[in-house]
């Protein structure tokens, strides 16, 4: 197996981008990442793209070929393009598949990208499309929504561990504060705990400000064998670990509703592969599709004991400058959550941080960063660890 490096990155503006189509937004991300890596089209061996549901959101499948075509890589160069799907973890999965391809020695230069175009349909239809990431036949048919499923996790977490609505709200407050300094973020406004608690209830105890929004956007990274990375960039960022784990599709079948066992397992596998522990990580992008999801994530990945995530957050430990900065990009909450793109965007944020290019969001002296991307209510988790040093 070969070591793999990221040599180029780009995330487009996240938001309600009525002026751009799926093919435009992913082309912008891909071209931006290639320019960043100074790679030419002729050098590309493969494209892997994460996309949850072009079929439901824009009635377009065969996204891989579409992207290769509009990136100018199909008609003459015939670059292979593969779409992968694991609901909201599709992006993380695309990255992982790209790493596999390069590490195996089969491919050298691989574009790993993610894209979702969610706002061409009504937000009710978008919610229904997202609900397909849960068990349609035994959750959806009963009236379950995604906020509803995470609300049930939150309710039990509060009951078992005394987590409060204020602590949940603090996740959103912190992520909005980070989003202010991220030029591509969907929301760049500060909010207060009171704003969250006063916002409308979506699924009790989760308010609208406890939820990630519906978002358009794309993100891409360029992967290369570590041995040749310096040919392209002075600051390659090395992949130290890639891991993935599965759990039951339905929330009700889990051993413990408040633990995403797939996150626990993927986290352990990643730490083992990188020969690192949570103490070695300087910053982490976790899957905060809802505020409770960030609390569970920092517990499940081992940054804090189970049940103590709320208190840990309230004390400021997860803010920039805290013990372990979480979601410096603004997270899914403030940066936005174009589901297929999120896993790649998380990696782009870590790369920018490790390069020292994160501006006002910069975590001082960041050397090692981690990403955590979840599909559905926790049926898939994908974790990566990146480092400045090989």
């Amino acid at each position: 197996m070969r070591d793999v490096a990221i040599i180029g990155v780009k995330t487009t503006r996240f938001g309600e981008n009525w002026d751009v189509s799926l093919r435009d937004t992913i082309t912008e991300a891909g071209v931006g990442a290639l320019e960043d890596a100074r790679v030419t089209g002729e050098e590309i061996d493969a494209i892997i793209v994460g996309n949850m549901s072009g079929g439901q959101f824009i009635e377009q499948e065969h996204i891989g070929a579409l992207i290769a075509d509009y990136a100018g890589l199909a008609k003459e160069l015939h670059v292979p393009a593969t779409r992968v799907e694991a609901a909201c973890a599709s992006g993380g999965l695309a990255l992982r598949q790209g790493i596999h391809a390069v590490a195996s020695g089969l491919e050298d230069i691989v574009v790993a990208a993610g894209v979702e175009k969610m706002t061409d349909i009504s937000s009710t239809s978008a919610s229904t499309a997202l609900a397909a990431a849960a068990d349609r036949e035994w959750e959806g048919i009963m009236g379950a929504t995604f906020p509803g499923l995470y609300a049930m996790i939150a309710r039990l977490h509060m009951h078992k561990y005394g987590t409060t609505s204020e602590q949940l709200a603090q996740v959103a407050v912190k992520n909005h504060a980070n989003g202010v300094h991220n030029p591509i973020a969907q929301y760049r406004n500060k909010i207060s705990v009171e704003d969250v608690l006063r916002s409308i209830m979506v699924a009790d105890p989760l308010h609208i400000f406890d939820c990630s929004p519906i978002t358009d956007g794309a993100s891409a990274v360029i992967l290369a064998p570590a041995d040749i990375a310096h040919k392209y960039t002075d600051t390659p960022i090395y992949v130290k670990a890639t891991s993935q784990a599965s759990d039951t599709i339905a929330l009700h079948d889990r051993k413990d509703i408040t633990t995403l066992a797939a996150s626990v397992e993927a986290g352990k596998r990643a730490f083992k592969m990188a020969k690192l522990t949570p103490n070695d990580i300087d910053l982490v992008e976790v899957h905060d599709c809802f505020t409770i999801a960030e609390i569970c994530a920092i517990e499940d990945l081992g940054f804090v004991k189970k049940g103590e995530g709320g208190k840990f957050t309230e004390e400021g430990n997860t803010a920039i400058g805290g013990k372990i900065p979480v979601n410096t990009s603004g997270g899914l909450k403030a940066c936005g959550h174009p589901v297929g793109a999120t896993g790649i965007k998380q990696a782009v944020e870590i790369v920018e941080q490790l390069r020292g290019d994160a501006g006002k969001r910069q975590v001082d002296g960041a050397e090692i960063g981690m990403t955590h991307n979840v599909g559905g209510s926790g049926a898939t988790a994908v974790v990566h660890i990146f480092s400045r040093d090989r």
Partner: protein, 132 residues
Amino acid sequence: MITMSVPRFWRKQVARYNLIGTHCTNCKTYYYPPRNMCPKCRRDGKLENFKFSGKGEILTYTVIHTAAEGFEKQTPYVLGIVKLEEGPSLTSQIVADPEDMKIGMKVRPVFRKLGESSEKGMIYYGTKFVPE
């Protein structure tokens, strides 16, 4: 409606109407919804149909204010995870005043309309739960 074709719904209609799941006689585990393979024993499992008593308790719940498509007229509605006395858990609506909901409270099943699809003119029935 979170749409579902007639055959797709009908295929598991008995399970939905009568809380029929499966029981593995090899490892003695009960499953609802029904499964074709025992996830514990895999190929060594021996599954037979099993009718659940429907008695259970609330493991967790939420009150949904922003509904999924087809459920808009029902808001706010209570959705819960019910742990059946035989072991497995399921997701269902709880027909109760949100104010009365408590984790750990005992519930029993009732046969109710789940929803209807206006396009398809189909009414879906199934099992909901009410406080004991």
